[in-house]
Symmetry: C2
Subunit: 371 residues, 2 copies
């Protein structure tokens, strides 16, 4: 095998597939990146069996072939090479790859390509297209609400729900829930699947570009794949029953509060200095007489107490939340103002953005017995 | 106690003394910052018995007094306060400090100021002044060569050597040595002392300013203090005999090489990708026929091989070094070109900058038996 390609192309492709390189070391071949050179195309692959990524770039191929190189060293070496172009040649006898760029010459040991579990693309009739910015919004506004507890796999993923021209993404860890909806073109029927949030987060990073692109999605009963430009990402689906999220979303509220986002964010940030160190991370919000008062108390450190004005429509309420659960959603609120809607100190509250009906966040209060 | 001061002044002072706040938790009072309000001055102190820092700022004092607050929480709270001014008032009954700025109100528990080991300034006749930029250069060009091994304390510090109008700073971990010299005004006599590098690194951070300042240094047989503007830093000295560094510095060389700094730095950076993973971190340099060839070999990964042109004056030499020891000194080389001077593959080499005689770096080669 021998080829020449542009350094920036190869560096980008290696970085993309590196996300699927196994770091667990359970099987050495999974720590490698598989490279196939054929028909003026380089195909790079990496997989840890949970996620598989294929990336294709153009190259001048002098001799076809396949190799597997250490993902870690390939990434570090390619990134630092001095030239515009890179030549890679496989030495069959030494079982090494010679990587050359200007006067730099690296030799990396190769693993056997026959041992690499080459990724088979998902084939079948189940597929749809989605615009990259819509998929980005669905992912970025929900995955943060997933659970990290592997013991309950359903909550470590996001529900993707297709219902005719509507597409919903939902994530919950039981104590809070994030819901984002959008529209799909050219889709008929209904379908639900649970996608690991880890993989959605990787896909999200690929979705930032200046020109709008279509993402092709294929799926079957236990796998899903995302394809855009030269990149293909496949993931297993999570098996299980996602809870009926509609039942968790209150239909009416007794109090609605319109809040300045930036001001609330900085007040909460200060109060969190005290509550973050507390076992329960509790901040208490008092809505009354056109003011929100936010307090936190930690017997070992002290307390914080700050007020800000807000438009309060409805009854006075005092309610306590896990401060992280509010801080998390504030990271994605991108409107100048947002709504907090409440019923009582024991009922779930909702957070929605101003003039944006597509997103809903539900948060369960904590009982604060003055700890 | 009750006072008002500017937020930026207090935040700066708290950050400065925080460097001396103990993180080891051996004694809770040492995790605190002592604050004394008196005569329209706030004095902040922190110490972990190794280093002590005092910082003074102006304040409007309504009632004199002393408190000790948690260094960690005080720093976090002050930094995030919303207003231009901060009011702090001690509540004797609650034993808490009320910290107010705009609508934010924090209450922090106070420790007893009577338990705080208040720092006594070093008094006596032994003192000299040094310009801040000279002290900065002495520190920044040497401390990196110190050892981290607490078992041999002498090598964890820098030798400060005063000899009439000459001042030298020297650091070594036996395998390499960094030497920087400069001139002192108004000093007579000779003096040697070993200062912990940890403290020199903290002092270095305070020495960056737009206007040249004088640093006042006081010392006795076991302590040294540095004073500039409103900040006073005291440190213990390291007891022991610093090796005779003059014997480690070769007086003549058989080969002198003039090297382009930027090019050498990036070649070494690439070759280091392979050698850093090796137990001995070895890079081999071949100086011959107007070229430097740098190679590294690691049987488990592969090897790196790159050449660059250089002005070589003298005999051909092949020599191996710990790659970190070269990378470290390259961080401080600030001239476009530098010299490597050598005698043989087994003798120490020297690195000096072009047109700057004040700095010398000596590095011992490693034997490379083709591992």
């Amino acid at each position: 095998m021998k080829f020449t390609c542009a350094k920036t192309d190869l560096a980008q492709a290696v970085q993309t597939v590196s996300k699927a390189v196994s770091v667990k070391n359970q099987n050495p071949i999974l720590s490698g990146i598989y490279i196939k050179a054929e028909n003026n195309l380089l195909e790079l692959q990496a997989t840890d069996y949970e996620i598989g990524i294929i990336c294709k770039i153009e190259a001048q191929i002098e001799e076809s072939g396949q190799i597997v190189l250490s993902g870690r060293y390939l990434q570090e070496v390619i990134r630092k090479l001095p030239g515009v172009n890179i030549e890679i040649e496989y030495d069959r006898q030494e079982k090494t790859a010679h990587i050359k760029s200007n006067r730099a010459h690296f030799t990396l040991l190769s693993m056997s390509p026959d041992d690499f579990p080459v990724i088979n693309k998902i084939k079948g009739d189940f597929n749809f297209k989605i615009r990259d910015n819509i998929l980005h919004e669905l992912i970025s506004r929900t995955t943060f609400a997933c659970s990290n507890e592997e013991a309950r796999p359903v909550f470590t993923g996001c529900l993707l729900e297709l219902d005719g021209s509507q597409v919903n993404m939902v994530a919950t860890d039981i104590r809070r829930l994030a819901f984002q909806t959008s529209t799909l073109e050219d889709f008929e029927g209904q379908r639900k699947m649970i996608i690991p949030s880890k993989i959605l987060n990787e896909i999200q990073k690929l979705l930032i570009s200046d020109t709008p692109r279509e993402v092709n999605i294929n799926y079957n009963s236990n796998q899903i794949s995302f394809e855009l430009d030269g990149t293909y990402i496949a993931s297993r689906l999570i098996d299980g029953q996602f809870p009926d999220y509609n039942r968790a979303m209150p239909t009416s509220f007794s109090t609605r509060v319109k809040v300045n986002t930036e001001e609330f964010r900085s007040v909460l940030d200060r109060v969190a200095l005290i509550s973050r160190t507390n076992e329960y991370k509790i901040a208490t919000l008092e809505f009354s007489a056109g003011m929100i008062r936010i307090t936190s108390n930690n017997p070992e450190i002290g307390n914080a107490d700050e007020s800000m004005t807000a438009e309060i429509d409805g009854e006075d309420i005092t309610i306590s939340f896990n401060v992280d659960y509010i801080a998390d959603v504030l990271k994605i609120v991108n409107t100048k103002e947002f709504y907090i809607s409440l019923n009582s100190s024991l009922n779930p509250a909702s957070i929605r953005m101003l003039d944006d009906e597509s997103f809903t966040y539900i948060i369960t209060p904590v009982r604060n017995n003055g700890i």
